[in-house]
Amino acid sequence: MNIDWASVGSVFGVSLLVTVGLVGLFALGTVGLAKQGSAVLTSAAYACFALCAAAVAYGIYLIVG
């Protein structure tokens, strides 16, 4: 029996880190927009969303490729 523990571990690590990172970014963006504060806050929120959009684009690239 040859279980590839390295790929099990990497799937685990990547899923956890990317999920938490992405959801965190999106949450920061959402909360930033909801607060309706300064222009800085709003642009920071949009920057968060832009990063999330880039992640989605990378996801589509992975699916297609």
Binding site: S7, F12, V14
Partner: protein, 410 residues
């Protein structure tokens, strides 16, 4: 297509039926939480998922080299073995749909292939080690991986938003949830529609219509894409209800965390060489996200029934497929008999489902734990009056147990 025999035509039709059941069985994976948190109207959600599944089917030209990933020795496999495997997989998908239990369509197909191959060529046709590394281990790992990620992510959303009004952020989370659900749908179309294309192509190769190693013909790609999209659009509302409201209660940020965790786990696993089942990833993510809120609960009775269904998927599909393979091996009458039994069993499962229907309108109305008000009989007089037994069917897993021996005996 000049030498398409009766058997081959039956296999192709059966493969498309499997593709269809795969679609409606797995709509829940992408759309259950999107529907239950109110991010999308149920009908729009399934329509979007269907469209993305269809797109996904055309996206990738890289066909799965083997339909079973090395579990079954596919060299010299006979066409009727594929047919028997599909029969086992379809029946298991329908039974679990009737019970509203999400279970892996791929595992059902693997189980069917294993059962049919063992009956046809003996145990040497199956690679036991790969069964463990490709089926058992992922089944345990998937909910843990996606569940933990969703749990941590859901906690994080509550922590980041603790000084913000929930209503102000709900819209944002719903939009995010739709985006991750779209990714799951797209990935599903690429993976699972390709699986059916692989099955049909293998059948065409074994039937001598295509040369070994051929790419699937365009009509195969189109049919597979349409079958899975149609199945997705019809919507397995029973399973959507279980996943969306039966397992736990989700708020928009939890739904977003669950769906994102599912999308990322699926993509990460399929690109890092350790494939996880979409269904198991999504169920795990929903449970994890449910636990990610203070006071959040998971209905472990539903989760346990689901886990039991996962354990039974492979052996049950294998048993039915082995029986079907035994009967089809008897000659043309056997193939016809199995086809008739498949149609009859599917029809009776569908009739049983209509007694207590779950529709787009009622999918979010009531969680699994509180039984819905008696539904109006859809077709008066179409079934025998056995109304009192309905609840037993929905409430226990013992229901489907007699099914495999029955079909095996047939």
């Amino acid at each position: 297509m000049e030498h398409v025999t009766l058997l081959l035509a039956v296999v192709i039709a059966t493969a498309l039926v499997f593709d269809f059941t795969n679609g409606f069985h797995d709509t829940a994976n992408a759309m259950a939480t999107t529907i239950s948190t109110g991010a999308l109207n149920p009908k729009i959600a399934v329509a979007m998922s269907a469209a993305l599944n269809l797109v996904g089917a055309f996206l990738s030209v890289e066909v799965a080299k083997t339909i079973s990933g090395g579990i079954v020795n596919e060299d010299g496999i006979r066409t009727q073995v594929i047919f028997a495997a599909l029969v086992g997989a379809i029946l298991w998908n329908l039974v679990t749909w009737l019970l509203g239990l999400p279970s892996s369509s791929s595992h059902a197909l693997f189980g069917g292939l294993i059962g049919a191959a063992v009956m046809s060529a003996g145990t040497s046709a199956v690679n036991g080690d790969i069964v463990i590394t490709k089926v058992l281990l992922p089944a345990v790992a998937a909910p843990v991986v996606a569940g933990l990620a969703a749990l941590v992510a859901a906690r994080l959303t509550f922590r980041i938003g603790r000084r913000t009004d929930d209503a102000a952020t709900a819209k944002g989370y719903r939009a995010g949830q739709i985006a991750s659900a779209a990714l799951v749908s797209l990935a599903h179309g690429t993976n699972d529609a390709q699986k059916t294309m692989g099955v049909i192509t293998l059948a065409l190769v074994t039937g001598g219509v295509l040369a070994p190693g051929s790419n699937p013909p365009v009509w195969v790609i189109v049919c597979s894409g349409l079958a899975i999209a149609l199945g997705t659009y019809i919507g397995g509302w029973r399973i959507i209800r279980t996943m969306g409201t039966g397992l736990t209660d989700l708020r928009p940020q939890q739904g977003f965390a669950a769906q994102t965790s599912a999308a990322i786990s699926i993509l990460a696993s399929s690109h890092l060489g350790f494939s996880l089942s979409t269904t198991q990833v999504c169920s795990g993510a929903v449970m994890g996200a449910g636990l990610g809120r203070k006071g959040g609960v998971v209905r472990w009775s539903t989760a346990t029934r689901m886990a039991v269904a996962w354990c039974l998927t492979l052996p049950a599909a294998a048993l039915v497929a082995a029986g079907a393979e035994f009967v089809t091996g008897q000659g043309t009458w056997g193939i016809v008999l199995v086809a008739v039994v498949l149609v009859a069993a599917s029809a009776s499962i569908w009739l049983a489902a209509r007694r207590r229907p779950v529709t787009a309108e009622s999918v979010t109305a009531s969680p699994m734990t509180s039984e819905p008000a008696p539904a109006p009989a859809p077709v008066p007089g179409a079934q025998p009056a056995r109304r009192d037994e309905d609840t037993g069917l929905g409430a226990t897993l013992a229901g489907p147990a007699p099914a495999p021996p029955q079909s095996a005996a047939a």
